[in-house]
Amino acid sequence: MTSEQAISVRNLIKRYPQSSSNAVDGVSFEVERGGIFGLLGPNGAGKTTIIGVLTTAVIPTGGEASITGFDVVREQIRVKQHIAVVPQRPNLDRSLLVREILTFHAAYHGVPRREREAHADQLLKELGLYERRNEKADRYSGGMSQRLMIARALMHKPDVLFLDEPTNNLDPQSRLFLWERIRALNEQGLTILLTTHDMDEADQLCQRIAIMDLGRILVNDTPAELKKLIPGGNSLELHVETAEPAVLVERFGALPGVSKVEEVPNTGAEAEPGVTSFHVFAAEAGALVGAAAQAILEAGARVRDIRVRQATLEEVFIYLTGKHLR
């Protein structure tokens, strides 16, 4: 039994007992085999509940979800066989030594002894934990625990890996290391679903991103497409030495595809006398760099700086989910 989709979620609803609203409220999405999919959303958006459903820890109130074609409610054993989870908080077995955490995990999944011993050593080496394999995990730092949980997740060679806010509380080195590992694992064919509220992380890693709020998916697209969602999100930022800004506004406005030109008030510490800044909004702002420079020259002005500004995911996120705290 195989399926093209590694993860398939259809009209998923979860309402917890004694709750007046749905934690997950009619969510549908699919992740194809070998994809990296990001669930982005503020706290309480329903990300962890979705992971819970997909990893058999939460029973959905309505809708359907399956992993590589196996229904998460009816085929729990098969689902568990194919998934691995790296949770938000360390849940390492502190009664065992580090290496045993890996070998026992593999034993739970029926990996033969010789294979699990070799695989454990290999992963411990790859993740830089081999020297400290005979310690207890409670002596590990946050970054090491995280790496150990990833090693544990890989011990039974899952098809789908769930990472719940994987780089929360990690130092920058650990974060970069983890990103590299995630990409490498994905290149080996592992399907990855990660939740995060770190926009940079989502942008760096994910091929597709769903932005969630209040139990619903607001948008589901590639990072590049998401950034186009903000009206005028794509723009040229020009700094020009000119005596006649109004002429330039007119000339920029005449360039192909331009929707709006703004003369930016030149105030603040960085303001230079004689230099005016402009924002030129267009669907394909990057393609206008040459034409804009030409226009500036023709107007007898001098270019000081031209930049293509893309909206960040963070702007998209705030644009979609609002600024209020929750």
Binding site: A57, I59, V85, R94, Y108
Partner: protein, 273 residues
């Protein structure tokens, strides 16, 4: 990573996972064995010493009392060892450590994770109960007396006692919140220990009917009485009176079934939402 494991049947996967989790617990128990024995046996050893040795020696308890006490101590040790083997770790684990999650993600149904806990706790309770025999022999010396013609009943009673402790432990472990631990232990353990006919035979309470009725709510009463039936040698050709062994066994089996069912349900509620 290409999936190549469809051929393993679900039953085999689940059984393999069950055996592996049991193996994990046996390894950990083995490593903490001395600590386990000290925790399980400290209290019973002192009870045996004071009530079974000192009090009879200074004439405050009858000589025959020791023979009645020993089965009670076996019951108490066995039940507490298996009960504590589940309750405390489970309260902490479900409360915040969540170390159990790795086993819940193993390819076996969640109820089998609970069943494995019950099995392991029963093993611990059985070991603790059996250890009382050599210790009792050492402490009590020539007043140590156990009849040897009911060994089958004795073995069954120790297993039932350990299993009773395990199912109560599972139920408590899944109900108690971490912040309630010390209160619940006092509220449950103290009455459990003192109303369980550990230090007195149940038929002797015939004159204090209301208290006798209370002891019947306590599962430890049935364990103590069943072990008394299996262990206390006849005096002058007379059996000492105990609760009927048939009733004891039926009550314990029914109790284990009900409590085990309830405990597994509360366990599932805690791990699957």
């Amino acid at each position: 990573m290409i999936t190549t494991r469809y051929e393993t049947s679900r039953t085999r996967l689940a059984l393999g996972a069950f055996v592996a989790t049991l193996h994990r617990d046996l390894v950990v128990t083995g490593r903490e064995f001395v600590q386990f024995l000290v925790t399980a046996l400290m209290q019973p050893i002192f009870f045996l010493f004071i009530f079974g040795k000192i009090l009879p020696s200074i004439g405050l308890a009858a000589q025959g009392f020791t023979a009645l006490l020993l089965p009670g101590i076996v019951a108490l040790s066995s039940m507490l060892a298996s009960l504590q083997g589940v309750t405390l770790p489970l309260v902490l684990d479900l409360g915040f450590a969540r170390e159990i999650d790795d086993r819940l993600l193993a390819p076996l149904p969640a109820w089998m994770v609970a069943a494995e806990k019950l099995l392991l706790a029963s093993v611990r309770g059985t070991i603790a109960g059996l250890t009382i025999f050599p210790i009792g022999f050492l402490i009590l010396g020539n007043t140590f007396a156990v009849r040897t013609d009911r060994l089958g009943t004795l073995a069954l009673m120790i297993l039932l006692t350990a299993a009773t402790g395990a199912v109560i432990g599972l139920l408590m472990g899944t109900i108690i919140k971490p912040e309630q631990i010390s209160l619940m232990f006092t509220l449950i353990f103290t009455p459990l220990i003192f109303t369980g006919c550990t230090y007195y035979p149940w038929p002797a309470l015939n004159h204090i009917r209301w208290f006798q009725a209370i002891t019947m709510i306590n599962p430890l009463t049935y364990c103590s009485e069943g072990l008394r039936y299996a262990m206390v040698p006849p005096v002058g050709g007379h059996q000492i009176p105990t609760m009927g062994i048939g009733w004891v066994i039926v009550a314990l089996i029914v109790g284990i079934g009900l409590c085990g069912f309830a405990g597994t349900r509360t366990f599932l509620k805690r791990v699957v939402s």
